[in-house]
Amino acid sequence: MTALTDPPKESFRLSMLIYDTRYRSMTIQVVALMGFMLLFAWIISNTLQNLSALGKPVDFGFLFEPAGYDINQRLIEYNSQSTHLRAAFVGLLNTLLVAALGCALATILGVIIGVLRLSKNWLVARLMTVYVEAFRNVPVLLWIVLVMAIMIETMPPPRDFRGDNPSASMLLGDSVAVTNRGVYIPEPLFSRGLGDISVFGAFDISLDLIAILIALFGGIYASKLVKRRADRIQEATGDRPTTWYIRLGLVVLPTLAVLIALGFHLGYPELKGFNFKGGIHMRNSLIALWLALSLYTAAFIAEAVRAGILAISKGQTEAAYALGLSRSQTMNLVILPQAARVIIPPLISQYLNLTKNSSLAIAVGYMDITGTLGGITMNQTGRELESILLLMAIYLSISLSISAVMNWYNKRVKLVER
């Protein structure tokens, strides 16, 4: 019996960095890191050299100078004397607005079209295929300009609403005006409003809105409690108490009460001077961008939805029919909830695409972040480096936030596999 001996102790040789698998990965990483840092340093030194030759040192001070230009669609207070930073912020909110509207509409359209593509109705299924192929295969920029051109050319200008015998008239009992400058819809007004609250001295948030939201969400929460109680009773006794009217009341009544207390009424748009005044003005640049992005993205979402539905095995449908569910019930209660798990990942990437594509707003003059910070501000101040870096950082954080939120949601709805 021999005692175990330690293996001969190797001395470290330089060549081991390359040939020894224990060290090799380290070597590769260090080389890669050094290469990357060298490249980065090279770019930075070039940049500094070039900028000093141009006499434009990196300086973000321009953000705090007056912008000098006006923006038509502003969700927060802004005028031409506000700073470039604030202009960028107005643009950012506009980007978020069109992205949110676009995602919502694209999802609705996409689901409807995706389901209809599988319709038993031959004509409808074909039409939806035509829709999907037509929108998917033409650049979205072209769709944006085309929708804008259609809006401008086919809608009546405000002057057609004027005179004794106008050639155009308002819709829905004189409450909505569709013009080639955009759509004017009634706005909610409060005769006994609570005023605004200033946040950080930068933004005003309407207290009315906050009050309504509190009432609404309080109602929804209360209704959830009622539902839970009903569930418990059902589990215990097998009978489900009828609660829908209580729940409906809990949601609607508090909100209604708050609205009445605030003196809610609608302000209708009216033709005054050159334009319609009053009401909410959805500019045609917003509508063109919104519609084009939604229609384009809906085609992709429809494909994802279709693929998701086809991925659910036919047995599920048959089982649902066997249980006596109707066709729409089968779709809504059995197929779509399961398909959703397949659909959500591609849906996330479509939302991201839509948000990024909203930067094409510049083609129709919608003042999003690319139009303000990456457009007029960059152009008037000549600070390309600073503006573009800031622009990229903003888009990057929007994208990362969207994917973080959606991934979290995806994880939540995922089947727990055992």
Partner: protein, 433 residues
């Protein structure tokens, strides 16, 4: 035993189905008017399609093909179809289709882009259709250099020396790897060509040029325009991004933390920002990032940024391909004692790339459509040209004809490519089962 009153001894002959469930009527009942909901949908769709065609068709066909300006168009149409008629002025397409296709490329040299395009179809064929002889892949490999020479012209030695760089790299890889190991081989294969391109090739080209001058008339890339520009940018982006994408995908899958995070960082950064910001970088910042005095022209700069852009998407496509390979392939490669590079080159990549082709085609379609964005930085792609054409006195005020034509051409390209990709997907599915 009671006798049955009637027992049929033979089968009743099969009868034709009732008229309501066969033939055209039956088909319509089953597919169009099955229940009130479907009937309603059918009727609504029919009305919508009818209304759309009623509006558009007269406009398309009450057109003028021969006029020399928009006003002339309007007069011709009024003359032919009455004073209230309005129709399309396709004359603008007739007059400008060459410009929309080739931009400002010299018209006597149109054969070069056309030839490059035809050769491109030839070069793609062996990649796209696997039943063609594999030898043709050599031509696909050479094609980028031929195309560059045809499009940009100049001395034939330029593209050849670029090609020589790759050959040098490959030769160094083969020569050094067996003796000094894969890492030194890769390093040499990267450094060798760079030294060749930066230091030596210029002189060699000059010398060869003076001995055997073979040259095409050079064309500046700023003369590229129209669909030719879109295709050139798109194809360059895809071809050049493929190797970068492979490297990034491998890096993202690797166990090496730093390499992995560098790759993930790059991919997520590029995928997180819109292409338009990268194009802004190309048009305003790229020259600032490079050493003073460097000046690529704008189209080359755009190509660089587009390549980086599509490399990130390509990496994700290839990563999908890698993930789709069964684990057994990796294990089998390990079991055979292949090292990492050999395993990748001989076992993993050929299969992963094959699975990825539909995804790559999809990326190309997306990229091709996205090339229209270069209009925003002032390049003359079809959309940019449409603006320039509208600035011409004769055609000022024309809208639908140009947009319609451009949309149609894009649609034809993208639709056929997406059909091809679907065919491929189906084929791959059946092959794997």
């Amino acid at each position: 035993m009671t006798q049955a009153a009637f027992v049929r001894t033979e089968m009743v002959p099969e009868q034709a189905p009732p008229i309501t469930s066969s033939g055209v009527i039956g088909w319509m009942r089953k597919n169009l008017f099955d229940g009130w909901m479907n009937s309603l949908l059918t009727v609504v769709s029919l009305v919508a399609v009818g209304a759309l065609l009623y509006e558009i068709l007269p406009w398309i066909f009450r057109s003028s093909w021969t006029a020399g300006s928009l006003n002339e168009c309007r007069e011709q149409i009024k003359e032919a179809y009455g004073p209230d008629a309005s129709g399309a002025c396709w004359a603008v397409i007739r007059e400008r289709y060459a410009q929309l296709t080739f931009g400002f490329y010299p018209s006597e040299l149109y054969w070069r882009p056309i030839l490059a395009f035809i050769l491109m179809l030839g070069a793609m064929a062996p990649v796209l259709f696997s039943n063609l002889p594999r030898k043709l892949l050599w031509f696909s490999g050479l094609y980028p250099f031929i195309a560059a020479w045809l499009l940009w012209g100049g001395s034939v030695w330029g593209p050849l020396s670029a090609l020589a760089g790759f050959i040098i790299g490959f030769a160094l890889l083969l020569a050094i790897t067996p003796r000094f190991g894969a890492i030194l081989g890769v390093i040499a294969a990267v450094l060798g060509p760079i030294i060749w391109w930066t230091l030596l090739s210029g002189t060699v080209i000059d010398v060869l040029d003076s001995i055997i001058p073979i040259a095409l008339e050079p064309v500046k890339s700023r003369n590229f325009g129209g669909f030719m520009l879109s295709i050139t940018i798109g194809v360059t982006g895809i071809v050049a991004s493929l190797p970068i994408g492979i490297v990034l995908a491998l890096g993202r899958q690797s166990d090496l933390l730093i390499v992995k995070s560098l790759c993930v960082g790059f991919i997520e950064f590029i995928r997180g920002v819109p292409l338009i910001t990268l194009l802004f970088v190309a048009s305003t910042l790229l020259n600032i990032f490079l050493p003073p005095g460097t000046d690529f022209d704008i189209i080359v700069r755009v190509m660089i940024m587009v390549t980086l852009f599509s490399a990130a998407y390509m990496a994700e496509v290839i990563r999908g391909g890698l993930a789709a390979l069964p684990r057994g392939q990796y294990e089998a490669a390990d079991a055979l004692g292949l090292d990492y590079w050999k395993a990748q080159r001989l076992i993993i990549m050929p299969q992963a790339l094959k699975i990825s082709i539909p995804g790559i085609v999809g990326t190309f379609i997306g990229l091709f459509k996205d090339t229209t964005l270069v209009m925003i930085i002032g390049l003359m792609d079809p959309l940019g040209l449409s603006t320039a054409i509208r600035a011409n006195q004769e055609w000022n005020g024309i809208v639908w004809e140009l947009y319609g034509f451009i949309a149609l051409v894009f649609w034809i390209f993208c639709f056929s490519m997406s059909r091809y990709s679907m065919y491929l997907e189906r084929k791959l599915q059946t092959e794997n089962h």
